[in-house]
């Protein structure tokens, strides 16, 4: 199994490192550019690199699937990963179309996204209980596959999409999230989820070179951000570590909440919010770098909490022992 995990990490890392520079130039030639609203001069960035991140992810996982068949490794959930990939590629396609064609009605977009979640529902259709820390599992019957799974995916996609308002997609944070999820999945002994997250980690580490905070080189587009969100959610559903994921994305959700309130206030004051960068929320003098550093610290704290809670699920006295120590 470790062969698959290491291969998944290495294939994603090497493929991203080799292919992305070429893709960058190709997309630049196609003039698929967008404005960076957080910069004073509003430079134009190459967008849509997200497509190739999705292709690299799907190709890597497909190669891992073939490797699993060839090596005849059995403790790997083939059908769950296929259903997960199906959801990822459908959501990627919807967002790619939205990136290019700008779907005018958001209701149509969400209508399209809901059936895209159905393959993810198939992953855990027979699961009926939700696990609340320190309590017994609570049976919620069909509400689990029909409500909790779509909610997990939609909220994670909303959280990863919140990063578009920042200067960079905060790849440092993505690296922390995927590393923390690898640890949580390892504690849960879900090797299928570890393969998904190690592939993501490999890709994020490689992509980080092109997403340095200042200056930002490329933009992932809706396709990249939404796909990353879906992949994280699918991995968490397969590994049954949804609570850890929720804790890890909390900083983004808080950020999204503040942003929405800020926009609402501006709307009441009749100010056009279309051309306002995220940094404007904070009226005091804060630079993009400082803001990202702040979110990075928050993310690290969230990761520590998520891992601690996960260890506590394996060893119920862990937190008590930690406090007494």
């Amino acid at each position: 199994m470790w062969i698959l995990i290491i291969s998944s990490f290495l294939i994603a890392f090497i493929a991203s490192a080799i292919i992305l520079p070429y893709i960058k130039n190709w997309i630049e030639n196609k003039k698929k550019l967008k404005e960076d609203l957080n910069k004073f001069k509003k430079p134009r960035l190459k967008s849509l690199e997200g497509i190739f991140c999705v292709i690299i992810f799907i190709t890597t996982i497909s190669l891992i699937l073939s490797l699993q068949k060839i090596l005849n490794i059995n403790n790997f959930d083939f059908h769950k990963i296929i259903a997960g990939l199906l959801s990822v590629i459908t959501i990627a396609l919807i967002n790619f179309i939205d990136d290019i064609l700008k779907i005018p009605n958001k209701i149509i977009k969400y209508f399209l996204m809901l059936p895209a979640i159905i393959p993810a529902i198939i992953i855990d259709f027979n699961h009926r209980t939700i696990d609340i820390p320190s309590y017994d599992p609570y049976n919620i019957s069909l509400l689990y596959p029909l409500l909790i799974i779509p909610f997990t995916i939609l909220i994670t996609v909303a959280a990863t999409n919140a990063s578009k308002k920042l200067n960079a997609p905060v790849f440092n944070n993505y690296i922390i999230i995927s590393s923390a999820l690898i640890i949580c999945a390892w504690l849960k002994e879900s090797y299928t989820a570890i393969i998904i997250f190690s592939c993501l980690l490999g890709m994020f580490l490689s992509l980080k070179n092109y997403h340095e905070i200042e200056p930002k080189n490329i933009s992932l587009g809706k396709i990249g951000r939404s796909s990353f969100g879906t992949i994280l959610a699918i991995g968490a559903i397969i590994g049954n570590i949804k609570l850890s994921l929720l804790i890890l994305i909390t900083p983004y959700l808080i950020y999204l909440f503040i942003w929405k309130i800020y926009k609402l206030i501006l709307k009441i004051k009749n100010i056009n919010t279309d051309k306002i960068g995220a940094i404007k929320i904070f009226n005091f003098k804060i630079t993009t770098k400082q803001l990202l550093k702040f979110i990075f610290i928050l993310e690290t704290i969230s990761a520590l909490i998520a891992i601690t809670l996960q260890i506590n699920r394996v060893n119920p006295n862990f937190i008590f022992q930690l406090i007494s120590y």
Partner: protein, 342 residues
Amino acid sequence: MLSSNILIIISFSLGLFLSLWFIPIVRRILIANKLVVTDMNKINYPKTPSMGGIGIVFAFIISINLITLSELILQINYMELKILLPALLSILMMSFVGFIDDILMFPFRPLKPILALFASIPMITISYNNISVIEFPFSNIEIHMGIFYSLLIVPLIIVFCSNVFNVMADFDGLSSGNGIIISTTLLICSIMSHKTTSALIFSTLLGTLIILYFYNKFPAKIFAGNIGTLFIGSIFAVGCLIGNLKYALFITMIPYITHFMLQEIIIFKNKNILARPRERGIPQKDGSLQSQYIKSYGLTHFFMLHINKITEKKLVFYLIGLESIFCILAILFHFQHLYLAN
């Protein structure tokens, strides 16, 4: 309890109604974003929105997903989910490749078949260790291919079928018209073989293609684009692999294979893999099409060269007629094969 035939009718209706809703929306959005292409087969070169395939891809995927969910909730087991999911993944991967090609245009032509090879991996993995025998019709000969079946035959069928369907689609109503006839044929063959999963796939596709045809027929209001043709071609390949209808697929694809082979002549002559001949003609003032070659480099050029003053509408009619003959042959062949097997 729902019978499998009712499920097939429901999936057909879902495909039909959803594409009836989506295709006009997609057309409006494409026109608003100026994603239009020049129709080179008309004398006045009108601008027509491309990528109409987006509408049918979503109508298809939503219909199949809803059918799957209802199957799970109602606990009926007509569809084999373990086969259906990898099949859908392969189909969507091909559509994704088609959409990228539509938007960004691959700089290197063989990149499309290479990416299609990756799209066939989910189908390779389900056939690995499961199927390895090729049966020859009307005889008891069987060839045990071992892992070469999944590593060679499966990707070959998917890559070839999807790309071959993509190369003969430059005329109004041709891809959707032929698509309707082929999917009807394969649907009949699936029902005859009691293969519900492939029958559901083909019935949904048929529903979506009927609506696309009304928008795509002469004069076209929308083109299917690479996303549409690669999607249709990959469904034929994947559906036939699931339903074990490889021979029926082969017979229905003979016109496309002939067209492809004729095109290959020019490639070998020029010794340049990038110089694929165009299948479209040169429009004349009287509305007819004239071939730009003096030899039949493809079926379209064959008709343009051998039938005097052929219009685009007539050309498509002949090509669909030719396809229909092979589709009838495929049904007869499949029926005979099943009859002999019993």
